[in-house]
């Protein structure tokens, strides 16, 4: 094997008192994609910044060596390092929004990067800019080069970032969560782009991500980070076939998939230990279900678990190797009786529309409408989960809020147990508030930071007059906290004292306080780590079984859908394009958009044979939807007649309806 391109040895980085990267070792060959996998706060970004020597002011590299082609980057002067950055080593960041200068034209920003490394003549620079834009697959590069960042979509911006990173022809690209802020179909585009670039130029990529699916699809080798150190490194195939570290194992088990529908997900209890203390034993010991007596006292050494597969765990001591035993016992549980399958719908939405007027000019005249929700019909049965799936901006959240009358619907009807809710005023809506509740995406923004947890949970009890005195409310709040798996003493504390997962539990408790029948869950887990997501999904499932709740589960994550939902509705540009039972949608999708969505989701199984169906372009703006079928500009199977009229819904089965011309034709 030739000498590796990048060799990191014993790298330790501290920020203040916290040792955020500890004794890190990794090797990266030319043209290889290497993934660094870990949950938030485990030190992935700090590793990347250490390699680039771009640490925040409080950060310091304590020891170690970072050799790029044999040259130790940590020994270079700052001036020499500046020449390495961009020219040999480039980086792209998670947020394309904030990494571009909003007042500079795209072309000028790329030209700046080009000039920095080549110092070429003006004409050559322009040509190179267009070449780069072309290379990252931006259509019509001449026009785009003259535009400003806000005129580009998120995916385009990330492409521009990649173009800038490529300006200096680097040998190694460090990509820190390059697709986390993007939609799945756009993520598929960007990952595909990285792959092509790599094949063309022999670029090596250090891909930092928390998404096991992305790793499985793109990386050749990977390392798992936990609390500042690497605990396992292996080839992707070997890792997914048999993860050796208990943490890796549980991480895989905590992924929601269709196969695990009946079972509980393996949630990892507890949280990542704080890094500002010295570790005497294994860092995972507090959360490890298989911890041995010596785990707390002895640092686990590296063990070889297979060819090129190394793991840091005492279980792999030579005398007791038994890979199979590493597997945590799966907690199987029978699927609950499919209650309510044919019960009368609890909530029936017909042709719901929410349009937001666009005001312009001094007189604030209405010049157009954003058709955020444009004719959505749904049915939610008691004790069931209906998933509303779609990419960002398709109107999922608006639909959810309109259901609860948090946004006044423009048209359509919402019937709850036969009562019409649409158009009810604040006062008359009150008696239905008790039954319909909502949980939000961002657990950090969904609680008033100035209220005690007990008062947060008690708010509904007070407003609806269910518990009139504060002691009574606090008592109820404590009970509810126990119900969602938190200590009742938490009522006396402020929201900021809790982690994301705990806050989400508090929000669930707040919704449960008024004893609702229906809960709208608006991406309740997308801001959480996989292992924490598993805890919340388990909790939601338990609550449904115990209390017979119905969920309208809004999400963009199809693996969660597969695990949790009974029925699915797929939304595109304000309309439901396909809906049906979960098995119908996931296994026999009929609408081209659903198919594309499904094929874009990275699957955490490198052996999975998948027909890739890649969508081009972005979702159009809901203020000017395309005529005819909204999907036709991007649809791989579009025909001329698709542009004429919006396709009527066609029933594929009693439960399965699709809005696509092809369906009838294909039958």
């Amino acid at each position: 094997m030739s000498a590796p391109l990048l060799e990191v040895e014993g790298l330790s980085t501290t920020i203040g008192a916290a040792r955020v990267v500890d004794d890190l070792r990794l090797e990266l060959a030319r043209g290889e994609t290497f993934a660094l996998l870990g949950e938030s706060g485990c030190g992935k970004s700090m590793t990347a910044l250490s390699l680039m020597r771009l640490l925040p002011p409080a950060g310091r590299i304590e020891s170690g060596a970072v050799r790029l082609d044999g040259v130790d980057l940590l020994r270079l002067s700052e001036a020499e390092m500046r020449r390495v950055r961009g020219a040999r080593l480039a980086m792209i960041f998670q947020e394309p929004q904030t990494s571009l200068n909003p007042v500079m034209r795209i072309g000028a920003q790329i030209a700046e990067a080009v000039r920095l490394h080549a110092g070429a003549a003006a004409a050559a620079v322009d040509a190179r800019v267009l070449e780069l834009l072309h290379a990252v697959g931006i259509p019509d590069p001449e026009r785009r080069a003259r535009e400003y960042p806000h005129q580009l979509s998120g995916g385009m911006k990330q492409r521009v970032m990649i173009a800038m990173a490529l300006a200096g022809d680097p040998e190694l690209l460090i990509a820190d969560e390059p697709t986390t802020a993007l939609d799945v179909t756009i993520q598929a585009q960007v990952l595909g782009l990285l792959k092509t670039l790599q094949q063309q130029s022999g670029l090596a990529v250090l891909l930092i991500t928390h998404d096991l699916g992305v790793v499985a699809e793109t990386a050749e080798r990977l390392a798992v980070m936990y609390a500042g150190e690497i605990v396992e490194t292996a080839t992707t195939a070997a890792f997914f076939a048999a993860p050796a570290h208990p943490y890796s194992r549980m991480l895989l088990d905590s992924l929601p998939t269709a196969d695990k529908r009946g079972a509980r997900l393996a949630a990892i209890p507890g949280r990542v230990p704080p890094l500002d203390r010295a570790f005497t034993g294994c860092r995972f010991v507090e959360r490890c279900p298989r911890a041995l007596a010596r785990c707390a006292e002895q640092l686990p050494p590296w063990h070889e678990a297979g060819a090129g597969h190394w793991v840091r765990c005492h279980l792999w001591d030579a005398d007791q190797v038994d890979a199979a035993t590493v597997a945590a016992p799966a907690v199987a549980e029978g699927e609950q009786a499919p209650a309510g399958e044919d019960a009368a719908p609890l909530l029936e939405v017909a042709d719901l529309k929410v349009h937001f007027p666009i005001h312009r000019g001094v007189l604030r005249r209405v010049v157009g409408q954003v058709r955020a929700v444009d004719g959505v019909s749904l049915q939610l049965r008691p004790g069931r989960t209906l998933a509303l799936v779609g990419e960002s901006g398709c109107g999922k959240t608006t639909a959810g809020k309109a259901l609860l009358q948090l946004i006044a619907p423009t048209a359509g009807s919402i019937r709850y147990q036969g009562h019409e809710l649409a158009g009810l005023g604040h006062r008359r809506m009150r008696r239905f508030r008790k039954d319909l509740q909502i949980i939000f995406q961002d657990p950090h923004a969904s609680m008033n930071p100035r209220m005690l947890v007990g008062d947060v949970i008690g708010e509904g009890l007070q407003a609806l007059g269910l518990a009139r005195t504060r002691p009574e409310r606090l008592r109820r709040a404590a009970e509810l906290l126990e119900l969602v798996g938190m200590p009742g003493a938490a009522v006396e504390r402020y929201p900021h004292e809790f982690s994301g997962g705990q806050r989400q539990r508090i929000c669930i408790a707040r919704a449960l306080a008024v004893d609702p029948r229906v809960i709208v869950c608006d991406e309740p887990t997308s801001a959480l780590d996989v292992s924490v997501q598993a805890q919340i999904l388990n909790l939601l499932k338990d609550l449904q079984a115990r209390l017979g709740l119905s969920y309208l589960f809004i999400t963009h994550d199809l693996s969660v859908v597969a695990y949790l939902a009974h029925e699915v509705a797929v939304m595109y540009l304000g309309r439901v394009v396909e809906r049906g039972r979960v098995d119908e949608i996931l296994e026999r999708p009929r609408h081209p958009y659903t198919r594309a969505l499904l094929s874009a989701v990275p699957v955490a199984d490198p052996r999975a044979e998948r027909r890739t169906l890649r969508l081009e372009g972005d979702m159009p703006s809901p203020s000017a939807p395309p005529p005819g079928c909204h999907f036709h500009p991007r649809c791989p199977e579009a025909r001329p007649e698709c542009a004429l009229a919006y396709p009527e819904g066609r029933a594929v089965s009693a439960t399965h309806r699709v809005h696509c011309l092809l369906v009838e034709a294909g039958r």
Partner: protein
């Protein structure tokens, strides 16, 4: 009773403001999220230094806001049932500075002068008349030989500074004992820590500031008994006295204006942002219209109208002081009317953002009423904006007073204010030789206050800025 308290309108409002501040401090001390930013203020060196300076100004203003009327002395026992009080309304500060107030000269005299600034005809004992600078009635009157005043000034100044430092020493001991008790260490150790600057609150900086103020104050206090430290003005009034009396005016304008405009700005700003729709349109229309009228014009019109009213109804006012006070209040009001729009706009924007926040949505979903939502979720979360605006506006308003009084549409001409001092000094600048001390005194006092307030405002803003929160 030897005196009768008098509560002027502005006094009452100042007490109210102090009570509000006290109440807020009491409330904030109990809530970590409110206490945290103030703790950051208290831990910043600039923060405590400016706090000490502002505290001194506040002390002067509060002393000057306790008004009373003294009992007339010549009540020869006959009708003791009815006590009569002097018509003159005095403040505690007036009583403390009684010497300064009464020791007036004939006209201008320079700082530390022993002679008047203008020549007069002096009749000599032998009957001849001489044109010369006469001796002052009070300034340096104790000196036999005016030429020897240098030594006298030095000696008295030093003595005063030493007395000031002695007082400071007492404060130091009391403070370190109190702090040491709280931490459970000996006072000596506490002093060593303060000296080394190893305390969380930068006590050393605060105490050093206090030491300089007390030393200066001591020296001036001792000297003021025998000299006009900052000279006298046209009618011979002591400029130091005027400058100190002006502190209250400046401080009141800076704080009361915000206080009177606060309810309107809060109510309208939050309503506009929360209810949107026609309520929002109406309120926005209101403040854009108000904003379009030049503020000075509005103020000039209002003040002139008030002037006319007051001269036509002179009998309605019990005393000159009350009349001046009402005019001050009115000025605060009208300044408030012209300046609430900025805060209102800020509050509207913040409320627009907050009403979309998840916790407000969650509260609506739980059926919480609109006004409860405003009171519980919106108001507490915009309070920091109110606070920051209050502190930031303060210095601007102090300066505005000076400018308005300068063009004669500010406070009553009989009221001491820096603006009036500058206005009075305007003509004297043209004199030859120049009379510079009134202007300089007003400038120094105002500059110190505004600088301290601005620096304090910066510290407060940084302390409340969530982006800097992690760094602190």
């Amino acid at each position: 009773m030897p005196l009768m308290p008098v509560v002027l309108w502005t006094d009452a409002l100042l007490y109210l403001l102090l009570a509000l501040l006290g109440g807020f401090a009491w409330h904030a001390a109990r809530h970590e999220h409110l206490r945290a930013p103030w703790r950051r203020v208290a831990r910043s060196r600039i923060g405590v230094v400016t706090l000490v300076v502002l505290g001194c100004y506040l002390l002067v203003a509060v002393l000057d806001s306790v008004h009373l009327r003294l009992r007339l002395a010549d009540q020869s026992g006959a009708t003791s049932a009815e006590t009569r009080y002097s018509p003159e309304v005095l403040s505690l500060l007036d009583l403390a500075l009684a010497g300064l107030r009464s020791q007036s000269e004939k006209t201008y005299s320079a700082p530390f002068a022993t002679h008047l600034y203008v020549k007069e005809a002096i009749e000599l004992p032998d009957g001849r008349v001489l044109r010369d600078y006469p001796r002052l009635v009070h300034g340096g009157a104790h000196l036999d030989d005016p030429a020897a005043r240098g030594l006298d000034i030095l000696w008295r100044g030093l003595l005063g500074a030493l007395l000031g430092l002695a007082l400071w020493g007492a404060i130091l001991f009391a403070l370190s004992a109190a702090l040491a008790r709280r931490r459970g260490i000996t006072p000596a150790l506490m002093r060593a820590r303060i000296k080394a600057g190893r305390t969380e609150v930068p006590w050393r900086a605060a105490l050093l500031t206090l030491a300089s103020i007390l030393a200066l104050g001591g020296a001036v206090a001792l000297l003021a008994g025998h000299y006009h430290v900052l000279g006298t003005d046209k009618v011979g009034e002591d400029v130091l006295y005027q400058a100190l009396k002006s502190v209250r005016t400046g401080l009141l304008i800076g704080t009361l204006t915000t206080l009177v405009m606060l309810p309107a700005a809060l109510l309208l700003g939050i309503m506009a942002g929360y209810f949107r729709g026609w309520v929002d349109d109406l309120i926005q229309y209101l403040y854009t219209t108000l904003n379009a009228i030049p503020g000075v014009l509005l103020i000039a019109a209002a003040v002139l109208m008030l002037q006319v009213y007051m001269s036509n109804h002179a009998e309605d006012f019990a005393s000159l002081v009350e009349r001046a006070d009402l005019r001050l209040l009115f000025l605060c009001l009208i300044l408030g009317v012209t300046s609430w729009t900025g805060l209102c706009r800020l509050l509207r924007g913040e409320t627009l953002k907050l009403r979309e926040s998840d916790y407000v949505q969650a509260a609506s979903a739980l059926g919480v009423g609109h006004f409860t939502i405003i009171g519980r979720h919106i108001l507490p979360n915009v309070m920091h904006i109110v606070l920051i605006t209050l502190v930031l506006d303060f210095s601007g308003l102090v300066l505005a007073e000076a400018v308005l009084s300068y063009v004669n549409i500010g406070v009553d001409p009989t009221m001491n204010s820096w603006g009036n001092m500058i206005n009075g000094a305007r003509l004297e600048l043209a004199r030859e030789p120049v009379v510079w001390w009134s202007l300089s005194a007003a400038f120094v006092f105002m500059f110190t206050l505004v600088l301290a307030a601005n620096l304090f405002a910066d510290v407060v803003r940084d302390a409340f800025d969530p982006r800097l929160r992690g760094a602190a």
